[in-house]
């Protein structure tokens, strides 16, 4: 019965309740949207970092991270059956071996320092961005392909073109300079200009030949099932490749890791700020609802209703309001985010975002955790906020309340 009274009370002043409901919906909408946008941004930065060669987990020879030279190579895979078995298992979605060394590239016009990456073209497909980013020429066909893939910006800086020759210079394991001419077989474009100037790709066997190195590799990069949940895979990789240095993308890019942490904190603060803005209106509305019913509350109390029931009645009123507002807000968020699941074009402000590791389309990412947290914050704190008006209502002395016309 109390809930029925509360429900009817809620609709006595329809306009006021609707305004409050709109405020709650808008608040929850703002919470969900803002976090979806921010999560989308961070996801994108993570994706692009993972795609740009980092993968989920990387394996290097000890010492390579400090001194990325051809001196530190992992033993060939066929010497470590445990790792081979792990890479073949379901837990690893994709993996590839690479040789990665600093090099110098020279055209007739200019010289630049780059990172030369020897790849296995077939394995690299699906693991990193390279295969999908070729805009001129073609992707490498085999590990022996002796053409080079260059970024568009680098080609411009070197004032060269597709099919022209450039000279690559690097160091062999004995620290001697080694150099060779190559034809530019493909040009790739990426959303990050830095990637275009930083890397030059060639077949892994071609690079071995250039560097006169043995059968080892500089790194093995692999993708697991889910980048957020790599602990068990990391553990297994570490025990399978105990001789090596194994790191996740988070350890490779501590900046991204810390950004994730800051994000979580920020989301909670943002929720609470929005809630506080909301709570003033909520408390005010309930307060008004209680004040204008002073007489009535006194009356039902005089008729024998317990104060605790009155408290309960007001709380139910508030819960009903919160729940309806939340539902409307969630539906509204869902409806407004759904049409944008292919991304929002933010190119007007995005060339700066590139600097921070993002591209020009932003895909809002709705995480269950955020939605649940947003709703929980509003519901729980909303109830706490309505305790005060409810408590005041239950404390009215019947006689005083009945005789008082207004407040």
């Amino acid at each position: 019965m109390i809930s029925r009274i509360a429900w009817r009370n809620l609709w006595r002043n329809r306009r006021r309740s609707i305004i409050m409901l709109s405020a709650i919906s808008l608040g929850i909408w703002g919470m969900i949207w803002m976090t979806a946008l921010m999560r989308g941004m961070v996801d994108q930065m993570i994706d692009s970092s993972i795609e740009t060669l980092s993968g989920h987990i990387q394996i290097h020879a000890p010492g390579y991270m400090d001194d990325p030279s051809i001196e530190y190579l992992l033993p060939p895979l066929n010497k470590s059956p445990a790792l081979q078995k792990l890479l073949a298992s379901d837990e690893v979605v994709a993996w590839s071996e690479r040789i990665r060394v600093p090099a110098v590239i020279r055209s007739e016009r200019d010289v630049y320092a780059v990172t030369l990456v020897g790849i296995d073209p077939a394995r690299e497909r699906g693991l990193s961005f390279i295969a999908e980013s070729i805009t001129q020429g073609s992707y490498l066909s085999s590990v022996n392909d002796n053409r080079l893939l260059l970024g568009k910006k680098l080609v411009e800086r070197l004032e060269t073109r597709l099919n022209r020759r450039v000279v690559l210079m690097s160091q062999d394991p004995d620290n001697n300079i080694t150099e060779r001419g190559f034809r530019i077989g493909g040009i790739f474009e990426t959303s990050l200009q830095a990637t275009e100037t930083a890397y030059v790709f060639a077949g892994i066997e071609t690079v071995r030949e250039l560097l006169k190195s043995g059968p080892g590799v500089s790194e093995i990069s692999l993708l697991g099932q889910d980048y957020r949940n790599l602990d068990s895979l990391l553990e297994k990789t570490r025990s399978a490749a105990s001789y090596a240095d194994v790191q996740t993308w988070l350890q490779l890019d501590p900046y991204l890791g810390s950004l994730l942490g800051v994000m979580d904190g920020f989301v909670l603060i943002w929720f609470i700020v929005i809630f506080l803005a909301l709570s003033f209106g909520l408390v005010n509305t309930l307060m008004m609802a209680v004040f204008e019913r002073t007489r009535e509350i006194g009356l039902i109390q005089a008729l024998g209703m317990k104060p605790s029931y009155i408290l309960l009645m007001i709380l139910i009123e508030s819960i009903a309001m919160l729940l309806i507002g939340l539902t409307a807000g969630n539906v509204l968020s869902w409806l407004t985010i759904l049409p944008l699941k292919n991304g929002i074009d933010v190119s007007a402000v995005a060339s700066g975002l590139e600097w921070a590791g993002m591209s020009s389309t932003l895909v809002p990412a709705v995480k269950t955790y955020d939605v649940v947290l947003a709703n929980a914050v509003v519901l729980v704190l909303g109830l706490l906020a309505s305790l005060f008006p409810a408590w005041r209502a239950s404390r009215k002395v019947p006689i005083e309340a009945i005789t008082r016309v207004w407040q």
Binding site: R16, A23, S258, G261, F280, V349, L353
Partner: protein, 409 residues
Amino acid sequence: MTSTTYTLAWRNIWRHPRRTLLTISAMVFADVLLVFMLGLQLGQYRMMIDNSLALVSGQMQVQVAGYLDDPQMYRSIPEADQLAVQIRKTIDLEAVSPRAYGFALVSSEKRTLGVQISGVEPYYEQLISTIPGLISSGRYLSSASANEAVIGSTLARNLKLAAGDELTLLGSGRDGSMAAAVLPVVGIFNTGNRDIDRQIIAIPLNSFRQIFSMGNDAHSIIIGGQRDREEQYKKAISTLIKDRDKLVLLDWETLLPGLKQVIEADFFSAWFMYAVLIILVAFSMLNTILMSVLERTHEFGILLALGVRHSKLGRIILTESTLLALTGMVIGIVAGSLLTFYFSKTGISYPGMEEMSARFNLPPLILPEVSLRTVIPGPLAVFLASVLSSLYPIWHMRKLNPVQAMQAA
């Protein structure tokens, strides 16, 4: 508006002190938050800009047109020292320093890497760049003609070099001749910025000119100094270089386009947050004014019957909401400024900021800004939104009929 309107409106506001206080609190809360956040943001931006500029680029640079896009060695400024002296005199600033850049294969005993080499004037460089102060081992360059080099910490590690070791440069000079030199590394700097620590070797300008056959040229003249005098510098230098062929003055927005856009993007997303907050407060205001109008239906009916016009009633309500919003704004601005001012003296740091500050080269403490542009916009927006939201109750009143209104409880 007559004074009765004000008196009536002011009294009406305080009929329900608790409701009014809650509404004002909502506005003050939003105002304080907006003032603080905006101050924090602008403080952070200023810090990002100042620190990025202080690292390498300076406030502005004079270069040969086209050098920025395509840094070819032959695009150099002739008689650069002379021009630097002229600029120093014109804008009365010591922090003006010529630099030259080249590319070379750099070898240590064990390693060879391709690296950009900068030729700098040590005395003027320390007035512009923070790098001379960030030497982690050894010392900075001693004079413009010394034969020595300082290198970034990551580069030193990759080359397996320590202060005191020698490195060999091999590249080509401005005229295409061979450029080669053996220089001792006297110091290693650690800026915390991974690109700079990995990519830069600095040697004295005159030695650079000798090695790379540069004559008296340089590639860029860097101007440091205070950012608030930017416009003044710009004007003076532009006039100075007007008759020098092909020279251009580039400001920091051109030198570091990414930085400006990161700031714009961040500013844009922050306003989304602020807008949600402001609209929520407007809802709170709307509810309050609507309630106060609805509960006075009876009273308004009497006023109408006594011959008060609808427009006068509307004015009273508008005055009420304006006074309410104004009170909120004034308190909000004062409280917000005080809070922000306090933090602008003590500084703020939040957990997890260290890696981020390292990446963007920020000190881990942010000093929020308190100025007209941080204190006014937020509260003003809240004020306007609140007054606007009271238009609905006024519009609602417009068709009130005295007889029916008086029948309302």
